[in-house]
């Protein structure tokens, strides 16, 4: 039954773009790309229990690796996509040692520092970031594939455009990361991560190598963040140093908490909630034309969005995933008593 559900979900995800307008497809693509990063943060915060507000820094590390390799050096995307992950992972390993000495809120504060250091570097190293005014980021190009706007992939009678290409690439990479993390949580290393989260002292007593576990989870988390950042920047095509800020980190943290921290599907559900909801609210039929008097539309959607986050936390502390399992209990109990 579970496998059938998974196949149905995959089929739906693959067919989804055909029923979407251009704007919706763009939003969906941004959500999938963000979800890769959220899956990464979930490894660190959800499974290993290390609160990080520095995710924006690792996203940026990936984005600017793409910019330098793909943009300055003209390297194929087959190289720069994984390279973005590796560079970000290396940054994670460099930062990791502080995590070994700190925990909880102290680690959160230190990782905030990362965001500021990162932004300072980006604002000043013009050759890397183009300075405060930003720089363009190349589209994904590999072999015969070109994801630039206006390029299409023809498969028989089906044509997939620029937005569709990014959608499927992000979908494939998200599926890979989900599969990896789902399996990881069942390995020796995965159990070690959860042991560290549930009690560092107890884990150490049981023989879990704290340093190795924390560093490893930092590396995995940053690797996925780097891939997500590179795809995001490439799809957006133009980025500025100011956008890799603390707010971005907080959005990712909100996404995994709203979705369901420490669960496989939580980051995906949370990303849909955090990154697509503002856009969906805007396209509701009864709030159409902007620029009129009263409360501006964008303000209204931010308010609704904020209220919804609060409601989710109060009503369903386990996140949206919890809502799902609660539904399952309701449906299965019905099936049990005909």
């Amino acid at each position: 039954v579970k496998r059938a559900r998974l196949v149905a979900l995959a089929a739906a995800a693959v067919l989804l773009p055909f029923g979407m307008s251009g704007g919706q497809l763009t939003t969906a693509t941004f959500v999938l790309i963000a979800a890769i990063g959220a899956v990464g943060l979930n490894v660190l915060t959800g499974y290993t229990g290390q609160i990080s507000l520095g995710h924006a820094f690792f996203l940026a590390a990936g984005a600017y690796t793409a910019a330098v390799l793909g943009g300055n050096d003209g390297v194929s995307a087959i190289v720069w996509i994984p390279a973005a992950g590796v560079v970000a992972a290396l940054c994670g390993v460099i930062v990791g040692p502080t995590a070994v000495r700190l925990r909880g809120l102290y680690l959160a504060i230190v990782t905030i520092g990362l965001v500021f250091i990162g932004q300072h570097i980006l604002f000043n190293v013009t050759s890397l970031s183009g300075g405060p005014q930003g720089r363009s980021i190349p589209a994904v190009q590999a072999g015969g594939f070109d994801f630039s706007p206006g390029q299409v992939l023809r498969l028989g009678s089906i044509t997939i455009d620029h937005d569709g290409l990014y959608y499927y690439l992000a979908l494939a990479l998200l599926a890979l990361s989900l599969a990896y993390v789902a399996n990881l949580s069942r390995t020796r290393f995965g159990r070690a991560m959860e042991a560290v989260r549930d009690g560092e002292l107890a884990a150490a007593v049981m023989g879990v190598h704290l340093t190795k576990t924390k560093l490893g989870s930092f590396a995995i988390s940053s690797f996925l963040a780097g891939i997500s950042g590179a795809l995001f920047a490439s799809y957006l095509s133009f980025v500025q140093p100011s956008q890799w800020n603390l707010l971005l980190s907080i959005q990712y943290l909100a996404a995994i908490i709203v979705g369901g921290i420490g669960t496989v599907w939580g980051p995906v559900l949370g990303s849909i909630f955090v990154f697509a909801l503002p856009d969906l609210l805007k396209s509701l039929p009864f709030v159409s034309e902007s620029g009129a008097g009263g409360v501006p539309l964008t303000d209204l959607t931010s308010i609704v969005y904020g209220v919804l986050i609060v409601v989710v936390f109060i009503v369903e502390p386990h996140g949206l995933v919890g809502l799902g399992s609660r539904l399952r209990v309701v449906t299965t109990s019905k099936e049990a008593s005909p």
Partner: protein
């Protein structure tokens, strides 16, 4: 989860087969946009955003109604809408009515891209607020051939055939303004200084200043920079004062130009301020920017001796032939609108958009390519003195090299008194925008 139950060889094999199948093909360029929409009617070739039956053309305006630039996006959209409402009421362009779809990106590039994808297939022309936001959609609009009018004065816009900027680039404006100060304000042999924002916006102003220094043989006394987040400008002002600069160029935004003038006044330093367009805003003179609002503490200091290279004519300026019509349209179609240079700019941008569409209609081609051709071969369009006249040619280049120069005068409407409209200088005429764009 059941992912682990997928047997690894099978999963790997599936991935391999799929990637091989994909690798066998590749992407190609889409050539569909000129085949699908060739429904010609009444001798006019149609395209996205054009309804030949109803004779309507839809244009898009992705602006910022909220966020840091909301304060200028709102009046700009109001001006744009007022122009087209008046145009439609007067019969439109040869009977064609123009409708506007307004979207609010909040000055966020990602949102800008999302909104662009949402509306691009339903519009014939696009207006787009901001530099980073427009840069985020630039490769897409270039590829699509969708003529886009940025609300921004970067020098780089003049080098792109799909973009249709309005106004004189910052660098040329500053070169003209310095020239004016030298020749009409007794600046010959006087000491000059500049305070500029340390980003592309400020750099564009600096390039104009440097060109003017070289061209006029000026006495460059002091230069100082600031970060857009700075709140204290004492060091910068002291530097100017110590160097004895009689004229100080401000390549700044209002949140910096206000405090700079205030700090100088409290130090007893009163040079002639030369402001780049966006450095000035009505709110520097009265708190709410309206004519009878409470004056700010720096209104007096600004009124003493400040020249601004405004990108539009001052509100209510009698010398601009198009002003009377704009004011009556504002009264009728944007009631309650207070004086705003951005309303005037939005109105002038609407006028320029209409001129491009009119040319395309005359050519009988409202397809993407037709509107692009109209933009490239537009020639010179007079905007009633509201904004500098625009010249578009297939050779590209800045839309204008003339500046509107006004003196700040708290007693005038809009607090600006026009001193020169269409001012040109030798340095401004020869300034190479390609160098700035690289």
């Amino acid at each position: 989860m059941t992912l682990h139950t997928l047997r690894r060889p099978i999963a790997l094999g599936a991935v391999l087969v799929a990637s091989l199948a994909l690798a066998a093909c590749g992407t190609g360029s889409s050539s569909s946009n000129n085949s699908s929409s060739n429904n010609t009617s009444g001798g006019v070739k149609s395209g996205p955003g054009v309804d030949v039956g109803a004779k309507t053309i839809r244009i898009g305006n992705i602006s910022a109604l909220t966020g840091p630039l909301g304060i200028l996006g709102k009046p700009a959209v109001a001006g744009d809408k007022a122009y087209f409402k008046a145009l439609n009421a007067a019969g439109g362009i040869d009977g064609w009515k123009v409708k506007i779809t307004v979207k609010d990106s909040g000055y966020v590039p990602q949102t800008h891209v999302q909104l662009y994808n949402q509306i691009k297939n339903d519009i014939a022309l696009l207006q787009s607020l901001g530099s980073p936001t427009t840069k985020a959609i630039r490769s897409s609009v270039d590829q699509e051939g969708l003529v886009t009018m940025p609300l921004s004065w970067d020098s780089v816009w003049g080098t792109d055939k799909t973009l249709a900027p309005l106004g004189t680039p910052y660098a040329v404006d500053i070169a003209n303004l310095v020239d004016y100060a030298v020749n009409k304000k007794g600046g010959k042999g006087a000491k000059f200084g500049i305070i500029y924002q340390n980003d592309e916006y400020g750099m564009d102003g600096l390039r104009g200043y440097e060109a003017a220094l070289k061209g006029e043989g000026l006495n460059d006394a002091a230069r100082a920079t600031y970060k857009v987040t700075d709140t204290d400008f004492t060091a910068q002002v002291q530097k100017m004062k110590k160097a004895g600069a009689k004229f100080v160029v401000l390549a700044a935004v209002p949140s910096a130009s206000g405090p700079i003038v205030g700090t100088a006044a409290s130090l007893g330093y009163a040079p002639t301020w030369l402001m780049m367009g966006p450095a000035y805003v009505e709110q520097l003179i009265t708190k709410d920017g309206s004519e009878h609002g409470t004056p700010t503490p720096i209104a007096g200091a600004l009124g003493k001796s400040t020249l601004a290279a405004t990108f539009v004519a001052p509100w209510g300026d009698k010398q601009a032939p198009g002003m009377a019509k704009m004011l009556s349209d504002a009264k009728k179609y944007a009631p309650g609108q207070q004086q705003s240079i951005y309303f005037t700019y939005g109105y002038a941008q609407g006028e320029l958009a209409a001129a491009i569409l009119k040319k395309a209609i005359e050519n009988g081609d409202l397809s993407r390519q037709g509107i692009l051709n109209a933009r490239l071969n537009l020639g010179t369009v007079k905007l009633g003195g509201l904004a500098p006249d625009v010249t578009y040619t297939p050779q590209l280049g800045p839309p204008s090299r003339k500046s509107i120069i006004a003196a700040v005068d708290p007693t005038a409407t809009d607090f600006l008194k026009l001193v020169a409209s269409g001012y040109e200088s030798a340095v401004g005429r020869s300034f190479d925008i390609k160098k700035a764009a690289s």
